[in-house]
């Protein structure tokens, strides 16, 4: 019987996640686990109104509660020039409100106390006298003339308009539309949702009054960038700031921004001279931290009679909340929304975007999505569904007809992206085969005769992830490169330190595997460290599926750098010339005689003990990688639904997901990422919604109102893969953290529309709830 040798952890090996040992045993170290001697606790008093003038704040009752150490108001912060802070999109945001509150849940005052219960009790005793103002809750209202001015404190701001941004070629697009046989239009709304990581946001700020050193444990997806921003905002010398992002219980973009709570806790620790902990509760997380989407989109597709697409016109209006705090590269006012041409060879496209302030929470983050790619992908995939219905074509046929063909790569899109690689027809064909598409279409036709509603949804998405290149992409001016530092110890074990930061993605495993592949050190012998700015090289962090494309590339490059040095040492050990040394999976040998070899461990030991003359000791190195281009993962998702005509309930019967994210480092981890993303996509499509009433009260402030899918209702996923490596990435990987969230909502909604399209229904906005489906059927006289 063959003995199974344990996998070493090369690329392609589904080894178990190294980090899971501690997570499964409850030995992780999350922010709330951080406890320091003398630590105080902070609670926030928040605005109950969406828009109101602050007439006065009385903190006497709160101050009088035994155990209360301090009450911090905006006025106090203003004395230290900290009442406002810059946002990641070049706007300003109130840390604690001074003049007025601009969204429900806005931070108004903070209590610092000896225990969290007292802090909470006292926060409730702060009396704020408000004069309620009319709230603006949609961007359409916001842009009407005469709408209440939300940002009246901003010099030169006379209305609620934030930005106007265009991409593509208007004249060329107009020409395409003039030539079109048919124009198909779709207005759709991608509603506000929330990343809702299971761990909410928090900080333990410990500023040492004697040394001025600030150690900040923070739920941060981007600790290095946050350190720099803290240095700039708080005026602290950067070398004195250490940010430690411990184990993070999910981020999904929610932990990219800097929140007022972080700033106040740090200021309070500085002023009081003791550590201050702040951990928000679930409702605080839902009502005040980075939301996602809230895009009103209108698309027009110009087509020829045979279904060939000629041009695309898109108008988009975004609701950015009270402060324009989107986390995105500076140049791009609506993120990378202009990827909206998707997987299609569209000769012309023009995209017009505008943003507006409203009395809602700020911080448009890319919820598991690379800077608004999700919205773009949703719009084009929904629009193509409409086109198929209008042209009486099968939704797969119209896609196949218009896909960018494999031989067209690298492909320059009409809005300026250079797609690196792809094979869209192959991924689609695999998905169709897995599903048994033709049979299901027959079943659908039979059912339709009996009056039963069944639908098959198709989405063939293309993403753009992995920012840089640094010359085009930056966060608050910081170029989007990333870094890896590798230290191989004398015994052949190694530590890899990264500028990115895992929030559950499995970096401790997959990044070790890249080193294993490049140097031959088993993954089990490689410790991966992230999140501590004193201890890792500078990087921009983990979001927008950039860790593998950028940090992973840096890891491969630094490994190769060390391999080059190792070769020199091996040549010395083997008494051969460096030019004759070959390397294969951890072994160095002289060309032609593989039996005489030295292992990487031998070489590592020699690096500290037996070096050739003139070579520096050690086997360590660091690399900063600025990618030459983004990567473009893609795939085809298929969904089958059945609809109950009496209740409008949609049952997802099947879901097939074929992803192509280039080379898969650890296929099991990749599948886990896709499972999670599909679940979130399912949630967004059918249940997740942050909504507001006319007065701006948030109606999704806890998990009984903001619905998250669990394993109980989530469909079973059938997965498939094709591999089209990225030509410019050192190991051909593309990043996969977000594909499924980006691609799947349109597949779910298209399935519903496919079931009811023959009745003339073209759109049901997400979340596609049973009442909306029933109302749509009822309107067409098709409900039970």
């Amino acid at each position: 019987m063959a003995v199974e040798t344990p996998l070493k952890g090369n690329i392609g090996d589904s080894i178990k996640r190294k980090e899971d040992d501690r997570f499964i045993r409850g030995k992780g170290n999350y922010l709330d686990d951080v406890v320091l001697p003398g630590m105080l606790h902070m609670a926030i008093n928040r605005s109950p109104f969406a828009h109101a003038k602050i007439k006065s704040i009385n903190t006497d009752a709160a101050q009088a509660v035994p155990g209360v150490v301090a009450v911090v108001t905006g006025e106090l912060l203003a004395q230290h020039k900290l009442a406002w802070m810059p946002t990641l999109s070049g706007d300003t945001q109130a840390v604690l409100a001074t003049d007025k509150v601009r969204f429900q849940g806005q931070e108004v005052a903070c209590v610092i106390a000896t225990d969290p219960y007292v802090a909470r009790d006292a926060a409730g005793l702060i009396e704020v006298d408000y004069e309620v103002l009319k709230a603006v809750v949609t961007p359409q209202q916001a842009l009407k003339s005469g709408a209440p001015l939300i940002r009246d404190e901003k010099e030169g701001q006379t209305n609620n308009h934030i930005y106007h941004w265009e991409a593509g070629d208007k004249a060329k697009t107009d020409e395409a539309f003039a030539k079109a046989d048919k124009v198909v239009k779709l207005d759709t709304f991608y509603p506000r949702c929330h990343p809702s990581p299971l761990e909410t946001c928090g900080i333990v700020a410990d500023v040492n009054p004697a040394t001025g050193h600030a150690t900040l444990w923070m739920t941060s997806q981007a600790p290095h960038a946050h350190r720099t921003l803290f240095a700039i905002v708080a005026g602290l010398p950067e070398q004195n700031i250490r940010i430690i992002s411990p184990d993070i219980g999910g981020g999904f973009g929610n932990k990219v921004p800097i929140y007022p709570g972080y700033v106040v806790a740090t200021a309070a620790s500085l002023l009081i001279g003791k550590p201050v902990k702040w951990v928000e509760d679930r409702s605080e997380n839902l009502i005040s931290t980075g939301f996602a989407r809230d895009y009103y989109m209108s698309g027009e597709l110009a087509l020829r009679n045979d279904g060939r697409m000629l041009g695309l016109r898109v108008k988009m209006l975004s609701d950015n909340g009270a402060f324009y705090a989107d986390a995105q590269p500076t140049k791009f006012r609506a993120g990378l929304f202009h990827i909206v041409t998707g997987s299609y060879d569209l000769p012309a496209a023009h995209v017009v975007t505008d943003g507006a302030y409203t009395n809602k929470a700020p911080g448009g983050v890319a919820y598991r999505c690379s800077f608004r790619v999700t919205e773009a992908s949703y719009l084009i995939e929904r629009l193509v569904e409409s086109a198929a219905l209008e042209m009486n074509m099968d939704p797969t046929e119209i896609r196949l007809k218009n896909f960018i063909q494999p031989e067209q790569f690298p492909y320059m899109s009409a809005t300026g992206f250079e797609y690196d690689s792809g094979n869209y027809p192959r991924a689609m064909q695999l998905a169709l085969d897995k599903l048994g598409y033709k049979e299901l279409r027959k079943e659908q036709a039979e059912k339709r005769k009996k009056g039963e509603l069944m639908g098959i949804g198709v989405a063939s998405f293309t993403e753009v992830v992995g920012a840089g290149p640094g010359k085009h992409y930056d966060i608050a001016g910081l170029r989007m490169f990333d870094s890896a530092e590798l230290r191989v110890h004398p015994t052949g074990k190694a530590i890899l330190k990264l500028g990115v930061k895992s929030q559950g993605q499995g970096h401790e495993t997959t990044f070790a595997q890249i080193v294993t592949e490049e140097l031959g050190i088993p993954a089990a012998d490689i410790e991966v460290q992230e999140g501590d700015t004193d201890n890792t090289p500078y990087g921009l962090g983990t979001y927008a599926s950039r860790s593998t494309p950028v940090g992973g590339a840096a890891t491969a490059m630094v490994s190769r750098k060390l391999r080059d040095k190792a070769k020199k040492i091996a040549a010395h050990l083997l008494e051969a010339s460096e030019a004759d040394i070959e390397f294969d999976h951890g072994k160095f040998f002289v060309r032609g005689s593989p039996s005489k070899s030295k292992t990487i461990q031998d070489v590592a030991f020699a690096a500290y003990t037996n070096l050739p003359d003139g070579l520096e000791a050690g086997l360590e190195g660091v690399t900063y990688y600025d990618p030459p281009n983004m990567t473009f993962p893609f795939g085809t998702y298929l969904v089958v639904v059945d609809i109950d005509r009496g209740t409008g309930q949609v049952k997802v019967r099947r879901m097939v997901a074929v992803d192509d994210c280039g080379v898969r480092i650890n296929p099991m981890v990749v599948e886990g990422q896709i499972h999670g993303g599909l679940t979130e996509g399912f949630g967004i499509a059918f249940m997740e919604l942050i909504t507001f009433d006319e007065e701006g009260n948030c109606l999704g402030s806890n998990f009984t109102d903001y619905l998250l899918p669990t394993s109980w209702e989530t469909p079973k996923f059938e997965m498939g893969e094709t591999v089209t490596p990225s030509p410019h990435h050192p190991i051909g990987a593309k990043g996969v953290g977000e594909s499924a969230t980006v691609g799947s909502p349109a597949a779910f909604v298209n399935a519903v529309i496919d079931a009811v399209g023959h009745l003339g229904i073209r759109n049901i906005d997400m979340p596609v709830t049973s009442d909306k489906v029933w109302a749509a059927l009822n309107e067409k006289g098709a409900a039970e």
């Binding site: 219960y117 249940m687 109980w712 209702e713 009442d771 029933w774 109302a775 039970e784």
Partner: protein, 290 residues
Amino acid sequence: MLPAPFEYHAPRSVDEALDLLDQFGDEGKVLAGGQSLIPLLKLRFASPGHLVDINTIKDLDFIEERDGTLRIGPLFRHKAAERSSLLASRYHVMADAAPQIADPIIRNRGTIAGSVAHADPSGDWGTVLLAMDADLILRSKKGTRTVKARDFFSGPFSTALEPTEILSEIRIPAAKPMTGGSYLKLERKVGDFATVAVAVHLVMDDGKVGSAGIGLTAVGPQNLKAEKAEASLKGARLDDAAIKQAAALAAEAADPKADHRGSVEYKRNVVRVFTERGLKRAYERARGGG
């Protein structure tokens, strides 16, 4: 969770619990499964001065059929109902409802009595008890009284229960042969309260409807009993026309509010559809099927 301060009591007997409740009056609250009360404390929507935990009292977790009555104790949990073979074989409406309450974790702790005492108009058990014509036994230091389920609920989260009383037992007429039931619930996800739910408890007698109980969840200020629909079925043959008529009457009895779960028209329609489907299912079960 950071609730307002409260004092916690763990009595060892019902008498001791009743003494405590008597002492605290409005400031006292019974803690059963905690699955409604604890969230209220967490959100600071409730801040009672004293919690009287009845989980430390022996013998409150029971279900038994005795003297023509099914008796359920105050610590009989949703999960036990879900697993009860007695309920599965003869009390279909309860067996159907149990696994649709909340999610498995909440069902491990939450109790039927607690749910009824809490009287959430979107709660499921009150509806089930209305359809089954249950009696509720309320005990205080002063004595014991019996209140019919239909007289128990008096509005959202309000009931005949005094702060000094414990709901000490639920009594349901034991199932006769030819009894069938069903509970159909529309929820947005597992663990969600009902958007609409309909309970049907049907007793057939010589090919005709002996009695029909129909309860409605989440479509009024409290769990509702669709009495006109029930009456329309009494003594009738359960044909399509009778079912349709009862369903229409149930829909009329519903008094839903429009919200983000749906319009008034939508919710009424689901009541109608579920009453039809529920009656059919209950009928089949009464005849030994399904």
